[in-house]
């Protein structure tokens, strides 16, 4: 099943939503509303609110790096994420914002073991 969703992550045609990472040269990450909606309460609320993002089919993020968002997207689609000493703290903080509770817990545990 997770393989199927991983394939879906590469299927550009069916994607219906854009995540824009704000920087000098904006980066666009394409994805599926339906998947995001059921995996993250942040996105669920965003779609439900029917505010400007759901009308434009695009959200602009100011405080999340491209790498981090790609990691999260991979996690959202496949349930897999790689945590190491390099990124653990950043993952913990950012995952909270997107209500990815499992990752937050996992990262917190990871950090605790190393303090």
């Amino acid at each position: 099943l997770s393989q199927n969703f991983e394939d879906l992550l590469l299927d550009e045609n069916s994607k219906d939503f854009t995540i824009e990472i704000e920087s000098e040269k904006p980066i666009y990450l394409r994805c599926h509303k339906a998947i995001l909606n059921c995996r993250s309460d942040y996105f669920k609320a965003l779609f439900r609110s029917k505010m400007i993002e759901s009308q434009q089919g695009k959200v602009v993020l100011h405080d999340t790096s491209k790498e981090m968002m790609e990691k999260f997207l991979k996690y959202i689609y496949t349930g897999k994420i790689e945590i190491n000493e390099e990124n653990a703290v950043e993952i913990l903080i950012s995952s909270r914002k997107f209500c990815l509770d499992q990752i937050s817990e996992f990262a917190a545990k990871f950090i605790k073991q190393r303090i």
Partner: protein, 736 residues
């Protein structure tokens, strides 16, 4: 682990202090957005921007600004709404309230979504969650406000009242408004219960109290029951349609109390009530009553007692009806009929409820044992059936009747009395060859066996064995006669003998008589033959239950008379005499005077009279010793063979007495055995305990009288099976 920690902390997440002015800016941004949401203008806002603002405030530990701000905004907003709603008049009120509420709920979801980070990371008990805070403000400032709450509840209850009176109301609106009370409750639906449910239930009880009182006085019980059922269905539907499900059991209970519990006694006693329904077999109405009574506490107890009382009463009438006391067949037939009738009521109306069945059975037990007639009547009933009453029934019908007999038998407390009578009539059937079918006899016996075990039927089975062995013995005897020397000297008569094992058969009262010489010789021959074949056996002749065929020569015609042995002896006397008094008959045959009386009666008073009384005495039924009889030579009868009853058909009182006495004798033995059995295992026992135990052990066969048990204990003490304790006279000790 000695590895060095090298967690990397990202630069941009380094704790940054947020200026107060920055916090204020973010809050104002959010506040404006919330106000926009409250005015349903959310589509131009950016979710991410608002979410990020609240996120930043919380991260910077400025959640308090946000939370208190939100509280104020909500407060302000709901107060505005109150004025708007309260102004609405009449029906507009409910519609306005509802539409504002629906919008408000949506807004609160949206506000919750924007402030999700605050909700998740900042709000801690006892603070309310963002959404709950919204609900609380609505409750506080709108719903339970004096301008709203009372008016709303009154209108809701008014609508429900209208609906109960048959009008159509807007169910969706009701559901939404009633659900509002649930939604604003913080825990355990307390607002709903306090503000709405309590008053609703009170109104319900009130409504049904007056409706039921009015309806039941103006309608039949059946109509009332139907009305109740419909009302209950309606209320069930009401729960589904617009009440909270938690109200269900309470609402139904309130309805049941008013509609059923409060009127149970009336429904049972009223003219068209339970009693009449039972009397007239109104199965459907009773079924409905059962279903409804079942719903309330002790409801079925009332119904059951009423029914059982009726059963007992009906049964009591039947067993005491004078016609039935005279006619055992009618008695048992009526009993089977009412049993069938009540079984039908039980299955069709009372779902074969165990308690109901048991109480009907108890009722049967009580009236069936009201008098001691029943054991004999039941035995006689079967006797009649087995003598040919089953002729026109098929196997299935026979089985049904037999099972009913067993059923009635089960209720008898003195089964031993029944057994004695049954054996008595069985013996008579077998000996007189009047049994209709051996198969049916055996089927009946096997049913008793199933019910009571081997011991109960062993004697009956013994009788059948005797009948078979007698046939063999008789065949052997006939062969023996042909080869016997003495045979040549004797005129041939056809003699048939039945050898009955003592113990299997009821003991017939001993009677003696003088047989004519020829018959005596034959009897001696048989005795000789039989005792030779079976050494160690003794034969006692019971001539009083035998039969004989006698040729009766009239001047113009010859008849064959089928008679009892006694009647034969009497008739033979007329070979040597023209006229005989009863006294002479008794002297000539050595038969007791009473038996003479009983034997002669059918001969001169039946349809065909072979004897006549001289001089003819009209109407005098009692015979005296000196009454004189002579042969009726003018007998007119088309039949060649004339059959006479041996004595009157049913048993005479002395015979019945005899059977009873034997039952008592047997009981003594049973009680002795029971006492000894109990004492042997218990060694020592107090008087009362022994009585109780003994009664219990014997209850499957009969109910022993305490006085009889006492006598048997005394007797056993005399016979040194038991002794009293010297220091405690109430205790007995078993003596090995």
């Amino acid at each position: 682990m000695s590895r060095k920690m090298i967690l990397r902390v990202p630069k941009f997440q380094e704790p940054k202090r947020m200026e107060k002015s920055e916090a204020q800016r973010l809050w104002l941004l959010l506040k404006d957005a919330i106000v926009e949401v409250q005015h349903m203008n959310a589509s131009t806002l950016s979710f991410e921007e608002l979410y990020r603002s609240s996120y930043s405030l919380v991260i910077a530990k400025r959640g308090d600004i946000l939370y208190t701000g939100l509280e104020e905004v909500n407060n302000h907003h709901t107060k505005n709404l109150l004025d708007k709603i309260a102004q609405a008049v009449d029906e507009r009120f409910l519609i306005e309230l509802n539409s504002q509420w629906q919008q408000y709920k949506l807004q609160q979801i949206m506000i919750h979504d924007i402030l999700m980070y605050l909700d998740r990371m900042y709000v801690k008990e006892p603070q309310l969650k963002v959404f709950d805070l919204g609900m609380f403000k609505w409750k506080q400032n709108v719903l339970i406000h004096s301008q709203i709450n009372d008016r709303l509840v009154r209108m809701l209850l008014g609508l429900i009242h209208m609906e109960r009176n048959g009008e159509v109301i807007d169910g969706a609106l009701m559901k939404s408004l009633i659900q509002m009370y649930v939604d604003v409750s913080l825990k355990e639906k307390e607002t709903y219960k306090q503000e709405f449910e309590e008053r609703f239930l009170l109104a319900t009880s009130h409504f049904y109290k007056s409706e039921s009182n009015l309806f039941i006085t103006n309608n039949s019980c059946g109509a009332y029951l139907k009305k109740v059922e419909i009302r209950l269905i309606e209320e069930e539907a009401r729960i589904k349609q617009y009440l909270d499900e938690s109200t269900g059991p309470k609402l139904i209970k309130a309805c049941e109390d008013e509609l059923i519990a409060n009127h149970m006694q009336t429904m049972i006693e009223m003219e068209t009530g339970c009693r009449t329904m039972i009397q007239n077999d109104r199965f459907n109405e009773l079924k409905l009553m059962y279903r409804l009574f079942q719903r309330v506490e002790n409801g079925l107890v009332h119904l059951k007692n009423e029914f059982a009382g009726y059963v007992r009463n009906e049964g009591h009438k039947i067993v005491n009806q004078p016609e039935n006391l005279k006619d055992p067949n009618a008695l048992i037939t009526s009993l089977i009929e009412i049993r069938n009738r009540f079984e039908k009521t039980l299955s069709q109306s009372f779902a074969n409820n165990r308690d109901f069945i048991n109480s009907v059975n108890t009722a049967f037990e009580s009236f069936l044992n009201e008098n001691d007639k029943l054991s004999e009547s039941l035995a006689l009933f079967i006797d009649k059936k087995l003598r040919g009453g089953f002729k026109d029934s098929n196997d299935q019908e026979i089985d049904v009747i037999m099972n009913k007999v067993i059923l009635l038998f089960r209720f008898l407390s003195d089964k031993d009395v029944f057994k004695k009578f049954y054996e008595h009539y069985l013996a008579k059937r077998l000996l007189s060859g009047r049994s209709f079918s051996e198969d049916l006899e055996r089927t009946m016996i096997s049913k008793f066996k199933q019910e009571c075990g081997n011991q109960f039927t062993s004697k009956m089975e013994g009788m059948f064995t005797d009948m078979r062995l007698s046939k063999d013995a008789l065949d052997g005897f006939k062969n023996y006669l042909q080869t016997s020397v003495e045979m040549g000297k004797l005129p041939k008569i056809d003699m048939s003998v039945r050898v009955l094992t003592q113990g299997f058969w009821p003991t017939f009262p001993p009677h003696s008589c003088t047989l004519p010489p020829l018959l005596s010789q034959y009897c001696d021959l048989f005795t000789k033959y039989y005792c030779h074949a079976h050494t160690g056996r003794r034969i006692i002749w019971q001539t009083n239950i035998g039969t004989a065929e006698v040729t009766f020569r009239l001047p113009k015609k010859t008849h064959v008379l089928a008679l009892s042995t006694y009647q034969m002896l009497i008739m033979l006397l007329f070979n040597d005499a023209e006229k005989l008094s009863l006294k002479q008959m008794a002297a000539g045959t050595s038969i007791s005077f009473m038996d003479i009386q009983r034997s002669v009666k059918p001969l001169y008073s039946g349809k065909y009279k072979v004897l006549k009384r001289t001089p003819a005495v009209e109407k005098s039924k009692e015979l005296s010793e000196n009454d004189i009889f002579e042969l009726n030579l003018n007998l007119k009868c088309k039949l060649h063979r004339i059959k006479f009853a041996a004595t009157s058909q049913t048993d005479s009182e002395p015979e019945r007495q005899h059977t009873r006495q034997r039952v008592d004798e047997d009981r003594k033995i049973e009680i002795d055995a029971a006492i000894v059995r109990i004492m042997k295992s218990r060694k020592a026992l107090i008087h009362n305990d022994l009585i109780v135990e003994c009664t219990k052990q014997l209850s499957s066969r009969f109910v022993p009288q305490t006085s009889m048990i006492k006598k048997r204990i005394e007797n056993l003490i005399e016979r040194e099976y038991l002794e009293r304790f010297p220091d405690d006279r109430r205790r007995y000790r078993y003596l090995a």
